[in-house]
Amino acid sequence: MKDNDLIINIENLIVHYETEEGTVRAVNGIDLKMKKKRSIGLVGETGAGKTTTALAMLRLIPDPPGVIKNGVIVLNGENILDKSVKEMENIRGKDISMIFQDPMTALNPVFTVGEQIAESIMLHEDVSKKEAYERAKELLEMVGISGNRANEYPHQFSGGMRQRAIIAIALACQPKVLIADEPTTALDVTIQAQVLELINDLMEKHETALLMITHDLGVVAEVCDEVAVMYAGRIVEKGSLEDVFNRTKHPYTEGLFNSLPNIKDRKAKLKPIPGLMPDPTNLPIGCAFSPRCPYANDICREQKPVPRWISSTHMVECSAYDDPSFHIARREK
């Protein structure tokens, strides 16, 4: 990896939500590097801290109750956590853009789709309204919607088209980083396939770095180069697609794979992970996954695991590997 390909570097990010019921420890010290043209899949279940991580990168954590407790997020050599509100407005949409999960609510119903795309361009570039609108039409064409539909309102678009329009807004100023938060979860599979292909093509064309937040390991396999698996606010396993899919190390990652129906063998019984995600206001003392982990020992329950690099690309955070003979049941491929 060349260092000048590094676009975003997150180090030891900690985000809490301080509520009356207690402190919700949403993100508990994560490190993540994003590189030009590379896509990372951030995988995990509801409450793992995926969306909070993304919102922190845009400084959009609702405050109160959200507080960024610690960490740096370096973009272009500067820590965006030190930026003023005004400076952040220039970064959002221009350097970092986000596609939200629900295409039904992310668009403003009282403006035309063209106006909403043009708005984003006018905020960041010195262009006239007319020029911006023309650019908006081109962007619509780029995402596969006829430019002469720019004067239509969101309700006249189907779900798949709305998500394309949102992608057009996100890419309007050719951001260096695109965060896609479950961009296809609300869509049907054939439409999902169209949108994923579009995201892949556009990334290639604009040399964007992509952070794909999803719970769907299938989507990750289709779109991403790297994978980071999150659990209870920590990245518990990280590596190339091959590292995580074929040489799985973390028991939680294994549990996720075992929970999915096997397309090759429909009779194979699903092996769900027992129990539930821990309460983020009251995390276990040791490894947060230890109460659900079939391999957990006393050390796991008492001590926080530390990141362990298995190769230059593959990291796992699991104390069981202190024992050199330890391995999970899932076989390497």
């Binding site: 049907d188 599979v189 396939a193 169209q194 929970s259 397309i263 769900p272 539930l276």
Partner: protein, 318 residues
Amino acid sequence: MAKNLIEVKDLKKYFKTSHGMLQAVDGVNFTIEEGKTLGVVGESGCGKSTTGRAILRLIEPTSGEVYFDGHDVLKFSESELRKARKEMQIIFQDPYSSLDPRKTVMQIISEPIKIHRLIKNKIDLENRVLELMETVGLAERLINTYPHELDGGRRQRIGVARALAVNPKFIVCDEPVSALDVSIQAQILNLLKELQGKFNLTYMFITHDLSVVHHFSDYIAVMYLGKIVEKASAEELFKRPLHPYTQALLSAVPIPDLSERKERIILKGEVVSPINMPDECRFAKRCSYARDECRSHTPELREVYPGHFVACDFPLKG
């Protein structure tokens, strides 16, 4: 061979809209053998949920016949229907909105028992609810909690317990795991499978998730714009999809396995609303194999291989 518990003939449900007649379900035929699962897959708006609800008469079908254990459900009087509902239950998609927030777990699960006056004694009733809770894997201490205190997986277990409360023979499962995380999804799917074995339940399993339907069903019907376009055993359908829509649908599923990477068929266009459909193949507009003949009439569902039905005049080579 086991008997057919459910037999649906030419079922139709039309809705009047300001733009014309919306043909949500348009002449659907299928049977479900006792103790088996029919999976119904398709995208939003294909009519899969409407079909499930029309069978239970939660919405009144426009026309057709629905036989449950040999009796036409659509001819039942109010009181006969109420009796039949004891045998036919439904589990809903969203465990957040399908449970009354003002009722406790005890009240929710016992409600169908009270409606059908199965148990009158209070202690027996509580014991029955506890028994049901144990069956679906809910801890006894949760009996007086409210739905908002529980997570999605536990709520869905309440939904399952409520459906089981009256000892039904047939359950329509309408996207029962779509709102749940994968690890919880697997728990509920295993539970439903286990209950099927234990109580010889017959399921109609409605979902948009192809890997789930493949795992869960004995037979699968693929719906597109109100019609069944293909029907076969789960294994056969995945091994040998004959309808171009089924093929595209299967190829669009992202597979979480790097050795299984494949060419995807990307369908152009989107699903339209089935309003005032002309007499042509409903998939023709998006089908890359469509010919002139496809636009001249609606293809009928016909048996191409034993047990494998397809509604396409030019099915793909299996």
